[in-house]
């Protein structure tokens, strides 16, 4: 079956699928006419029950905390999978971290890039920390904060050399931080079992005023653990790919 044939078969099948898909989508209540009860119920009770003013984070870490636990383990497994798939093949060896592509003139990293990225490392760390610890008050959360924290490490690589990045995030330490973040989420759930409530119930003191940083019980704690876990997972993945690009060479070059 040649490629143009495959293209025509796809167009016919796509027309049929599109017809059914649009028929189903147009059967939904129109855009803006939200009918369902759950959104209104959660908006009405969330602030009173959890003292968290960020209702999306309350849904993520308390009302549907089990889904977040599963998603965090997806990220953990992806980091492990990338490290396993990108292991050394039989004929590869590590060399010095130089960019040896012969088809492009790789310029030396300019001073402007180095200075700007160096200046941005501090603010990025602060912003990432803020996002990871304020999940219950404003549009922040563990995931966003974690990815921003991981970006700070990549800025370290851009501002310096690969070896600095490797020294600031050794694989064993990052692995340990990743595991601690993922494990503490599960342990907090088990601790809720220890107090006689359901798994992942909110058992810490809820705080006096909704929206303060120390309010909302386990939501703040879980969000912080998720933040460091996501940061460690992304640093691991980026480190693996950087190592592939810069260090691992094939054969006897």
């Amino acid at each position: 079956m040649t490629s143009p044939q495959r293209r025509w078969i796809f167009l016919v099948a796509a027309a049929g699928m599109l017809a059914f898909y649009l028929w189903g989508l147009i059967g939904l209540p129109g855009f803006g006419h939200y009918p369902g009860p759950y959104g209104d119920i959660i908006n009405a009770v969330a602030v009173g029950q959890t003292h968290a003013t960020g209702v999306v984070s309350a849904v993520n870490f308390e009302y549907r905390g089990f889904d977040t636990l599963g998603e965090e383990f997806i990220l953990f497994t992806a980091a492990t999978g990338v490290a396993t798939v990108l292991r050394h093949l039989r004929e590869e060896r590590d060399t010095a971290a130089e960019d040896e592509s012969s088809d492009r003139q790789v310029p030396v990293t300019s001073d402007a890039v180095r200075m700007v990225t160096l200046a941005f490392i501090g603010p990025t760390l602060v912003v990432g920390w803020y996002l990871a610890t304020h999940a219950q008050t404003s549009p922040s959360g563990g995931f966003q904060g974690g990815v921003v924290l991981a970006t700070a490490f990549v800025l370290v690589y851009l501002a310096g050399q690969f070896i600095v990045f490797k020294r600031l995030s050794p694989v064993d330490l990052t692995d340990a931080v990743d595991a601690i973040g993922a494990g503490s989420f599960a342990v907090i759930g088990l601790a809720a079992l220890g107090t006689g409530a359901a798994y992942l119930a909110n058992f810490l003191p809820l705080g006096s005023s909704p929206g303060a940083v120390n309010s909302a019980g386990t939501i703040a704690l879980i969000s912080f653990c998720v933040g460091i876990e996501v940061a460690a997972a992304f640093v691991l993945i980026a480190g693996e790919l950087l190592e592939q690009t810069l260090i691992i060479r094939e054969g006897d070059r």
Partner: protein, 97 residues
């Protein structure tokens, strides 16, 4: 609240027609961005296009009143994913010599 009633509160400061116009225009931009990402055959150019598409999606989520999803899409779709893609492309290009 019946299905046909408009919901207006004292905190809705943007006029409804302006909100609808914003949403329609950003939706059109997102559809055009998706087409441009697919039609860019060179992988390096496609990575730049996917970064722009991530920013357009973040704009769409902002207009749909979802700031948390905006933050996630900005950090993941416009920074982390193009970084991983560029690293993989650099490795593949090195292997091709």
């Amino acid at each position: 609240m019946t299905a046909g009633a408009l919901v207006i509160s004292p905190y809705t400061v943007t006029p409804l027609w302006l909100m609808a116009a914003l949403q329609v225009s950003v939706l059109i931009l997102v559809a055009a961005g998706a087409t441009a990402v697919v039609l860019a055959r060179n992988p390096t150019r496609q990575v730049i296009m996917v970064s722009i598409y991530g920013v357009l999606l973040a704009l769409l989520f902002m207009v749909f009143q979802a700031p948390d999803v905006t933050l996630s899409e900005l950090t993941v779709g416009a920074v982390a994913l193009p970084l991983l893609l560029l690293l993989a492309l650099a490795k593949v290009r090195r292997n091709e010599e």
